[in-house]
C-alpha cells in the first residue's frame, strides 16, 4: 500500500493572524491519499477546507506537521520550488473558472505550458487535444465572454489537465453552475478519475460530494469523518 500513497499529511496545523486575532485554521490533520483516488472534502464555509486545499495544492505551507507529496517534503520547499511542483503535479479548477478574458480559450489552455517552458507548436497541439477531450473542439478561438458558464468551466478543466498533472484539485467546481451543467461537469470528473487520475474536490454541497468515492468532513479545522460515502 505504501507504494501507492499519493500524499500523506501528519499532524498538520495551520495558524494565521486575521484582523489581529490568531486563527487556528487547521488542527492536527492526518490524511493519506492513494493514487487514483476520488476524494471529496466536505465542510461549511469557514471550516478550514479552503486552507486545506491551499496546503494540498502547494499554494501554502503548514505551520506545523509534515506534508509529503509523491515523496517530497513540501514544508521544506521555497516559493520557486513550490511553483515548479504546482506546475508538474497539480491542476487547479476554481469556482468561477478564472479564465483570462483577453485570451481565447486555446490561449487560456496554453498558459500553464508557457510557464513550464513548452515550445509553441507542442503547446498548441496539446492545448487543442485537451479542448477536444472536454468537448470544445469547435470553441477554441472563442473568448471566455463568448462561452457559457459550463463551457468556461470546461476550458478551465482543460487548462488544469494540459500539463498532465497527477492531481486534479477542484474548489467548488459547480458552485457557479446550474444543476444540469453541474451534473455534466461531475460526469467529466468521474471519467477523468476512471482514467486513473487522482481527483480532490472541495465543496459544501453534500450532493456534489456524493460523486466522490471517498468523503471527508471537516468542521472547525478538524476532520470529523473520513469513511466512504456509503458508510456515512
Amino acid at each position: 500500500m505504501a507504494e501507492n500513497v499519493f500524499f500523506e499529511m501528519r499532524g498538520i496545523d495551520k495558524d494565521y493572524i486575521m484582523g489581529g486575532e490568531p486563527v487556528h485554521a487547521l488542527k492536527n490533520i492526518n490524511l493519506s491519499i492513494e493514487e487514483g483516488e476520488y476524494l471529496s472534502v466536505l465542510g461549511p464555509s469557514g471550516s478550514g477546507k479552503s486552507t486545506l486545499m491551499n496546503i494540498i495544492g502547494c499554494l501554502d505551507t503548514p505551520t506545523a506537521g509534515q506534508y509529503t507529496l509523491r515523496g517530497r517534503e513540501v514544508e521544506e520547499l521555497d516559493e520557486t520550488e513550490l511553483a515548479q511542483l504546482r506546475s508538474r503535479e497539480i491542476g487547479f479548477i476554481f469556482q468561477n473558472s478564472q479564465l483570462l478574458n483577453r485570451l481565447t480559450a486555446l490561449k487560456n489552455v496554453e498558459l500553464p505550458l508557457i510557464y513550464a517552458g513548452v515550445l509553441p507548436k507542442e503547446r498548441r497541439r496539446r492545448a487543442e487535444a485537451m479542448l477536444e477531450r472536454v468537448g470544445l473542439a469547435d470553441r477554441m478561438d472563442h473568448l471566455p465572454t463568448q462561452l457559457s458558464g459550463g463551457q468556461q468551466q470546461r476550458v478551465a478543466i482543460a487548462r488544469a489537465l494540459v500539463g498532465n498533472p497527477s492531481l486534479l484539485l477542484a474548489d467548488e467546481p459547480t458552485g457557479a453552475l446550474d444543476q444540469k451543467t453541474g451534473a455534466q461537469i461531475m460526469e467529466l470528473f468521474s471519467e477523468l478519475n476512471a482514467e486513473h487520475r487522482t481527483v480532490i474536490m472541495i465543496t459544501h454541497d453534500m450532493n456534489i460530494a456524493a460523486h466522490a468515492r471517498r468523503i471527508i468532513r471537516i468542521i472547525d479545522g478538524e476532520i470529523t469523518e473520513g469513511g466512504s460515502v456509503k458508510d456515512a
Binding site: E79, T80, Q84, L100, G163
Partner: protein, 403 residues
Amino acid sequence: MLKKVRGTFVMLGECIRMSMDNIRGNKVRSFLTLLGIMIGVTAVIALISTVSGVSGSLASSFSSMGAGRLSVGVTGSDLKTGMTPENLAQIAALDSVEGIVPSVSLNGRVSYNNTVETNVSVSGRNAYYFLSNPDLILQGRALNFIDDDNATYACVISKNMVETFFFGVNPLGETIYISGIPFTVAGRYEEDSGGGVASLFSGKPDILIPYTTAMKINNTREITSFTVYLKEGTDSKTAASEVEEKMDVLFDFEDDCFTVTAMTSIEETMETMMGMMSTLLAGIASIALIVGGIGIMNMMLTTVTERTAEIGLKKALGAIPWQIQAQFLIESFLLSMIGGLLGVAAGLVLSYVLCNVLETEFVLNTGAIFLGTGFSAAVGIIFGWAPARKASRLNPIEALRAV
C-alpha cells in the same frame, strides 16, 4: 538542457507579446505614461545636439577671427589716462609683435543729403588694419599712411551704411557729415561674413576713419583700445605677458590700468561656459527623466494592483516568481523604450530646427542618441523593478481571492 534554455527564451518572447498586448490594450494610459520619458529624452537630445552645434561654430569663428591677436583695453591711472601714439610704437617694437591697430570710437550722428542716422558707430583705425585685412575693401580704396599722417577727412563705409544713405547712388566721392564734419567716402568695406551667433562678438563698426582724425575730433592725444597683431607662430600667452610687462612700465606699475586679452582665452572661457551650460541643461533634462520614471512606476503599480487576480492565477498555474517579475519588468522596459525612441526622434527634429534657427550646422550626435535610449532603458528597469518585485511576491492565495 538546450530545450530548457530554449523554453526560457520562448517564455520571454511570450512575455514581450503579452506586454505589448497590455500596452496596446491601455493605449491612452500607456501613451500618457511614456510621454514623460519622451519629453525627457527629447530635451536631452535637443539640448546636447544644439549646444554642441553652437559651441562648435563659436569655436571655429573665434579661432578664425582671434588667432594671433591680443586685444588691449586701457582704463588708465590718474596720471596717465591712455596710450599715446608713441607708446603704441613702443609696443609695436616688441619682438613678438607684428603690428598694432588702434581703435578710437566716436558715436556719431551721420547725415547725407536729407538722411540722418544717429548712433552710428564710427571707429578710427590705421593703415596697418587695412594692410593686414586685404579682403576687407570691396570698392574704392583703403585708408593708407597718408591718411594717418595727415589726419584726412576720408572714410570707408559698410555695406549697411551704403544701403542706408546711398540707395541707387554710387557712394564713392560723395560727402557725408559725421558729427557735422564733412568726410569724403573713399571706399566701401565688407561686413562680417559668417553672421549668426559669431557676429555678436566681433562688433565691426559702420564707418571707419583714420585714427588720427578720430583723435582730433575727440580732442585727445590718447588711445584707450587697440589690437596687437602677433608674429606668426608666437604663443599668445607669452606675447600677452610681454605686452603687459611693457605697459606696466608705461603706467608706472600701477594696478588695474589695462587688460590684455588673448582671443584664445576668450574661446576657452566660452567653451567652459558652454560645458557648464550643457551640464546644467542635462541636469534639468534628467529631472524630467526621473519624473517620467516615476510616472512609469506609478502606472506599473496600478497595473500590478489591477492584475492581482491574474498574477495569483498564473502563480497557481505554476509560474515561478522570476517569470512574473520578468513579465512586469519587460512591460515597463518596453514602455520606457518606446517613449525613449519617440523622444530620440522628436529630439533630433527639434535640434535640427533649432540649429537652423541659430544658423549653426546640424551634427547628428550619435552619443546623444545612445545616451537617450540608454537612459530610458535604465529608467524602465530601475522604476519597473519595485512594481515587478511586488507582483512576484504576491501571495497567490490572497491574489486569487482578489476577484
